[in-house]
């Protein structure tokens, strides 16, 4: 017993919190990158998460594709869809009031979710865990399902790789420059519009990657993204809009906080993130890792 709670239950919720936190981290990271470069609040982020899961579902269950292949291919496919969407529609809204971007991406949510609901119905489609990752690991104090351990490692690795590319490579330096001063960056001969398209692709590709990872845990259904996306917005605001490090750390941390809240005061677990958001906005309006402007 620990804090009046059985150790097994505590560890179980902690693990669940870390798994959810890993999803939050990947999703809010993508959202933060997109906001940083495009200055657009990508309301469609949850829809791309769902699209990733459905792409994986269709490839694996209908065409019998291998899980590892799907884990790679589905995010790439969704990234291409995202880039096409940016190129055809989103780029017409740069420099306008952010509400236009919000409305356009929200309309994409309605189209995608509606389309999948017509085609597959609202109830979930099961997606089986890859054979290689079924089973459990006994850690002594708890039993950890192998697939969940894999999700944590895969999600956090993708965050780490993204962070490395942005903070430590010349491509990342161009991206940071384009975020800070797009007009000057273009004057140096850097193709900023192409960088913007790639950023959107990478951001929604990350969402799709999370979607594929989530497919065996949650049922694959058209609204699986919209229930997540509001929490993700809150996380990005808490971490500091556009902050890469903030999105990753806050995502993971709040997953854990949410998990533990479920254990100690479960009625509160779906509200806790928003309560923290209110507190953070009152004390540090730019977010935990955000830079104060001006």
């Amino acid at each position: 017993m620990l804090f009046g709670v059985p150790l097994q239950a505590l560890m179980g919720q902690l693990m669940l919190g870390i798994v959810n936190g890993s999803f939050y981290a990947v999703l809010s990271l993508g959202l933060a990158i997109i906001f940083g470069v495009l200055k657009i609040v990508n309301f469609a982020h949850g829809a791309f998460f769902m699209l990733g899961a459905f792409t994986a579902f269709l490839l694996a269950q209908h065409l019998g594709a291998n899980y590892w292949f799907v884990l790679f291919l589905a995010p790439v496919f969704v990234a291409l869809v995202g880039m096409l969407f940016e190129w055809l529609f989103l780029r017409r809204l740069y420099g306008l009031d952010p509400i236009y971007g919000l409305l356009l991406t929200f309309s994409l949510v309605l189209v995608l979710e509606g389309g999948f609901r017509v085609a597959f119905g609202s109830s979930g489609q099961p997606f089986s865990t890859p054979d290689m990752l079924t089973g459990t690991i006994n850690l002594g104090f708890m039993v950890l399902p192998l697939y969940r351990a894999f999700v944590i490692v895969a999600a956090l690795s993708s965050c780490l790789v993204t962070w490395y590319v942005i903070e430590r490579t010349s491509l990342g330096a161009s991206l940071r420059a384009a975020t800070e001063r797009p007009d000057l960056t273009q004057a140096f001969g850097i193709n900023v519009p192409r960088l913007v398209t790639l950023t959107y692709g990478a951001g929604v590709g990350l969402a799709a990657f999370a979607g594929v990872l989530a497919a065996p845990i949650f049922h694959v259904n058209p609204s699986m993204g919209s229930s997540l996306v509001i929490t993700i917005f809150a996380i990005v605001v808490i971490g500091g809009l556009g902050s890469i490090k903030g999105a990753i750390i806050t995502g993971l941390g709040l997953g854990v906080v949410e998990g533990l809240t479920r254990l100690f005061y479960s009625e509160f677990s779906s509200t806790i993130v928003f309560l923290i958001m209110v507190l953070v906005l009152m004390l540090r309006p730019a977010g935990l890792f955000g830079r104060e402007e001006g």
């Binding site: 010349s170 420059a177 800070e180 000057l184 273009q186 004057a187 140096f188 001969g189 850097i190 900023v192």
Partner: protein, 242 residues
């Protein structure tokens, strides 16, 4: 050394004709005509708000709306997307130096892609401005004004551009650093670079430039060479409102 050094000095490297520019509703440039001969240093003189910086920004495609003709060598660049202008052999150093706060000194230095092989290496830039070597991994925001200006100039020397657009490189700097910038510009000219300079400091402009254009209300109102500006220095000072 850039190829420019081998070419005759009076061939225009940059020719601007009837350039108009707008910021939203406001018409800022009203038909600017400027010629910059290859291998020369040319200054744009004028008061604040006369349209000097806007002229440089128009060349780089940083002004939302513009019309007229801007030719580098013989290529018309006014319709090119902004990121295709630098590869024509031009590099820009903005008035506020344009140092990125989220990039460290090395990243700032190596950000602009190289246009050709004639640019300086990172090491050569650091030899030119030794102060920067010690600050290589400091964020751009932590540099002094003088260091920022050195970084801004060093950064465009790496690209291999032979036409340099410098917007008030001496503004707000201590006299000793102004002198250093002056001798750097003289050395760059010797090496064959062509430089278009926006300047408010007439003494500095006269010491470095071959030709001068006086700009007022978005128009060229007078032009001088090294000799004629000596005779009109008082008029020019009056026009500059000094």
């Amino acid at each position: 050394m850039p190829e420019a050094a081998r070419d005759p000095i009076d061939e225009p490297l940059l020719a601007i004709q009837d350039l108009h520019a707008w910021y939203g509703e406001s018409h800022v440039l009203h038909g600017i005509d400027i010629t910059v001969p290859r291998g020369s240093v040319v200054t744009l003189l004028g008061r604040n708000g006369a349209g000097k910086s806007t002229t440089l920004k128009s060349i780089m495609g940083m002004v939302p709306q513009r019309r007229g003709s801007i030719r580098i060598q013989d290529t018309e660049i006014i319709d090119l997307p902004p990121y295709e202008i630098a590869p024509q052999g031009v590099a820009f150093c903005p008035e506020d130096r344009g140092i990125y706060a989220t990039l460290d000194v090395k990243e700032n230095l190596e950000l602009p892609p190289r246009i050709n092989r004639s640019g300086l290496s990172t090491d050569q830039v650091l030899d030119l401005f030794p102060n920067l070597r010690e600050r290589l991994h400091s964020p751009g925001s932590k540099l002094s004004g003088g260091e920022q200006q050195m970084l801004a100039i060093g950064r465009i020397l790496r690209t291999g551009a032979n036409l340099l657009l410098l917007d008030e490189p001496t503004e707000g700097l201590a006299p000793s650093i102004v002198e250093q910038i002056g001798s750097t510009i003289a050395r760059l000219k010797q090496q064959g670079y062509t430089i278009l300079l926006v300047e408010q400091n007439l003494k500095f402009a006269m010491s470095v430039a071959d030709y001068h254009y006086l700009i007022d209300h978005g128009r060229v109102v007078a032009s001088y060479d090294r000799r004629t500006i000596q005779h009109h220095a008082n008029d020019v000072l009056e026009r500059l409102g000094v």
